[in-house]
Subunit: 439 residues, 2 copies
C-alpha cells in the first residue's frame, strides 16, 4: 500500500529559468538533436519540447561518456549555463554530466536536425512520426494548439458553453453523398459531417454553445484544400438579430485567437516565419456584389457558389482595397444547401448565409438558421427533402428555438493559411485523405 | 459593401449585474420556462443559459401582452429589479415590456419546468432535446464543461501540448473485436479505440501531450457503465521515472479539476446537489494486494482483472480506511492487454499498469509504456501478436522514444460518479449505445 499525493510533479524544462541561471549548473531531460564532433570536444544540440539548446561536451570534464550517444537518443544532462549570443536562445551549456535514458533502434530516415526537412510532402507524411521531430514541422502544431486555446478562451469569456456531441449518427447534417458509412451493430450509421443538428438543439437550453471536434467529409477528390477528417471549431448563438451578429462574433473571436497566439507562441512564430494578421474591420460583400466584381475582373460569374479562383480574387481585392486578409461573402442563393439556412425576408432568392475567406481560401461557412418549425418544413420541401426524414432534428424546432445562427471554422484551413502552406496536409498532424490511412 | 468590426457583441444575461440593479429596469432575452396565472397578474419564470428568474406580469403595467406567450416561447423582456429573498437568485422582476421572439409549434412532451422530470430514462433519452431544457438535466452538462475546462487549464499549466489525432484509422489501438468498421473509399478502416499510438508518437517531439476527443468501443453489451462513443481525456508524458509519476500527475490533475468546478460551477453544484470530493492523497494497492483483500471479504479472487463488484468493494475499503473517494490499483498481470504496457523489471509476471477507481467505478487506465523497440516487439510476440501488423506504430520506437507513460480518463464515467448517477447515459448529452442512434 502506498499513497499518491500529486504534490511533487516532474517539471518540464523551463527556458526562462535556464536563461536566468548563467553560471549555475542546471539539470534536465531532452532529446539529442544533433552531435558534431570537433577535436577534443563536441557540440551536442539538445531538443526540449519547444526549444533547441547548444551544449558542449569536453572530454574529461563531463561525468558519463558521449560514446553511443547519437541523434535520437533521450538523455538527462547537467550543464553549467553560459551566456552565448550566437547560440540558440542565447545560452550554451558546458556539460558536467550526461546519462542515456533511451536510444533508437535505427537512424532517422529524414534529416531531422536540418532547419527544413527538404523532402517531398509524401515522404514527410509517410514518415510523419519522424518528420514531426523536426523543429519547423512540429512548430505548426504548437501554433495549432494556440489557435484552439485562443478559441476556448474567447468562447468561455463570451459565455458559450462547451458541448460534446456524437459523431456516430443516424443521419448526416449536411446531406449529399460525402458521408462515411459505419457498420453500427448491423444497423446503418454515418460519421457526422458537422455538429449542426446538435448545436441547434443545444441553443434551446444553453443559448450559446461551441464545440471543438472532428468532422468527417467523404470527399473523393484529392485537392490541396481538402482532407477527409478535420477539426471543426463550431459555435452557435441564440437571440441574434441577424447573421451580422454571428459575423461580429467571429471577427472578435479571430482577433482574440490571433492575439492569443501572438502573446504565447512567439518562439513558433519565429521558427515558422508566420505573419499573424492584424484583424481590424473585415469587409463584407454580398454574393451578387462578388459576382459583379469577378465579372469585371474577367472571371465567369457562377450561379450558386464561389469557386477556388473566385476566392483568391476576392481576397486580393480585400487586401488591396481594405488591407484585410479576410473578406466575408453573404447572401448566397437560397436554392443551394444547407436547408437550415434562413431565407432573406427581403429577397427569398437569397439566404442569410455567409462564408469567410482568408488569404484566398474559404475557412468558414455560417449564417442565420431557421428557428420556426413551419418555415423549416417548407424550406426542406422547397429543396426536395422529405421532412419525415428529419423528424428527430425537427423536434428542436417543434418545441421551440430562439432566433439563432452560428458557424464552423476549419482549423486546418485556418492554420494552413496562417502559415502560408500550399497544402492542407501540412496543417494536419496525421492527415486522412483518399489514399492515406497511415500513420 | 459593409464592414464587420466585431467591436459590439451581443451580451449574454449577467446575473451579478442583474442582482446589482435593484430598482432599475433591465432588458434581456430568455426562454419562458413557466407561466402561472393569478387574479390580475401572472408569475412568469424566465430561463436564461444558467439561471431561472421570477418575474411578475401585471395587466396594464407591461407594454406587450402575455397573450399567446407560454412555456417554450423565447422573449425579450424589460423589468424592474426587486430584491426578493424567496425568489430564485434573490431577485424578482416587475415586467415593464415583453416581446415575443419565437414560439414553439407544440407543447413540451415532458414536464420541463418541474424540478425533476420524473420520467423514465428511456423517455428522457427519446426526448433528449426537450429533456435538456430542464434545469436539473442541463446542469450536468455545464458541470461536464467545468471538468473539461479544468483539465485544459491543468494540462496547459503543466506544459502538455494539446494535440488532435485521427479517429479514422487503419488499426485499433486496443485490439480485440470491440471496434467499429468504416467503409473508407472501399478500403477497410476503423474508428479508433483510443489515441494511444498517436499520443506515444507525439511524446517523441512534444514530451507531454494531451487530447480531448471521442473514443469508440463497439461493446455489444448494454450495461449501465458502457456507452459506445465517449469523450476521452487522454495524456501522455515523457521522461518519467516510473508509472508513479503518471499517477501523481493524475492526482494533481483531478484535484485541479475539482477545484476548478468548485470555483466556477456553484450554481450547478447546488442544482445537482453534487458532492465534489476533496482530493488529498489517493491510496494505491497492487492487484495482488487487492485480490487478497477481496478474498478476505468473501469475493472470489479473479486471475487477470477486477470485476464491477471488486471495484465497488475496493472503493468502500478506500473510503473507510482512508476517507478517499478514489483508489489506485497497480501491477496487473502482464499477460493481459494492453501489449504496450511495460512489464515490471522486478517481476515480469506483472506490468506497470494501473487503474483508478472512483466511487465504485474504474474511470482511468494508465501506466508506463514500453519505449524500447526490441522490448516492444518481444512483448507483442509474447501476447500472440505479429509485430509486422504494427509496423507503422513501431516506427516511433524504432526511431526513439523517451521513457514515458500516460492514461485515459473517461469523461462520462467521471461525471456520472461525480453526480452519483446510476446510469452513464445520464452523463452523455446524446448517448450512443447498441440500441440508440437518435437523437
Amino acid at each position: 500500500m502506498v499513497v499518491v499525493s500529486g504534490k511533487e510533479l516532474k517539471k518540464e524544462f523551463d527556458l526562462a529559468q535556464a536563461q536566468a541561471s548563467v553560471g549555475e549548473v542546471i539539470t534536465f531531460r531532452a532529446c539529442v538533436h544533433k552531435v558534431r564532433g570537433m577535436s577534443g570536444f563536441s557540440f551536442v544540440v539538445l531538443r526540449t519540447a519547444r526549444y533547441l539548446l547548444q551544449s558542449i561536451y569536453t572530454d574529461g570534464e563531463c561525468e558519463g561518456s558521449l560514446e553511443g550517444i547519437r541523434e535520437g537518443c533521450y538523455v538527462e544532462i547537467s550543464g553549467r549555463v553560459k551566456a552565448e549570443e550566437r547560440a540558440f536562445n542565447g545560452i550554451e551549456l558546458a556539460l558536467t554530466k550526461i546519462t542515456l535514458l533511451s536510444k533508437p533502434a535505427a537512424e532517422y530516415p529524414l534529416k531531422v536536425s536540418q532547419r527544413r526537412l527538404g523532402c517531398s510532402l509524401d515522404v514527410n507524411l509517410d514518415n510523419r512520426t519522424v518528420a514531426l521531430r523536426n523543429p519547423y514541422e512540429r512548430a505548426a502544431f504548437k501554433m495549432q494548439e494556440g489557435l484552439v486555446q485562443g478559441f476556448h478562451q474567447f468562447m468561455q469569456a463570451n459565455r458559450f458553453t462547451e458541448i460534446h456531441t456524437p459523431k456516430i449518427v443516424a443521419q448526416g447534417a449536411e446531406g449529399g453523398a460525402n458521408i462515411f458509412h459505419i457498420d453500427y451493430f448491423q444497423k446503418p450509421a454515418f460519421l457526422n459531417q458537422s455538429p449542426q443538428f446538435y448545436k441547434q438543439a443545444a441553443v434551446a437550453f444553453f443559448d450559446r454553445v461551441y464545440e471543438v471536434a472532428p468532422v468527417y467529409r467523404a470527399e473523393k477528390h484529392a485537392t490541396s484544400r481538402h482532407i477527409n477528417e478535420y477539426i471543426g471549431l463550431d459555435f452557435e448563438m441564440g437571440f441574434i438579430d441577424s447573421m451580422y451578429d454571428v459575423m461580429a462574433m467571429e471577427t472578435a473571436c479571430l482577433r482574440a485567437m490571433m492575439e492569443y497566439v501572438k502573446a504565447h507562441y512567439q518562439p513558433e512564430i519565429k521558427i515558422l516565419g508566420a505573419e499573424i494578421p492584424e484583424i481590424g474591420e473585415i469587409p463584407s460583400v454580398t454574393f451578387l456584389e462578388a459576382m459583379e466584381m469577378l465579372r469585371g475582373t474577367g472571371s465567369a460569374g457562377k450561379k450558386f457558389d464561389l469557386d477556388p479562383e473566385d476566392e483568391v480574387k476576392l481576397c486580393e481585392y480585400a487586401k488591396e482595397k481594405y488591407d484585410s486578409d479576410f473578406i466575408f461573402v453573404t447572401h448566397f442563393p437560397s436554392s443551394k444547401p444547407p436547408f437550415y439556412a434562413m431565407n432573406s425576408k427581403e429577397d427569398p432568392r437569397v439566404a442569410y448565409k455567409f462564408d469567410l475567406l482568408f488569404r484566398g481560401l474559404e475557412i468558414t461557412s455560417g449564417g442565420q438558421r431557421i428557428h420556426d418549425y413551419d418555415e423549416q418544413v417548407e424550406k426542406m420541401r422547397a429543396q426536395g427533402l422529405d421532412p419525415a426524414d428529419f423528424e428527430s432534428y425537427l423536434e428542436s424546432h417543434k418545441y421551440g428555438l430562439p432566433p439563432h445562427g452560428g458557424l464552423g471554422i476549419g482549423l486546418e484551413r485556418l492554420l494552413m493559411k496562417l502559415l502560408n502552406q500550399p497544402n492542407i496536409r501540412q496543417a494536419s498532424m496525421f492527415p486522412r485523405d483518399i489514399n492515406r490511412l497511415l500513420p
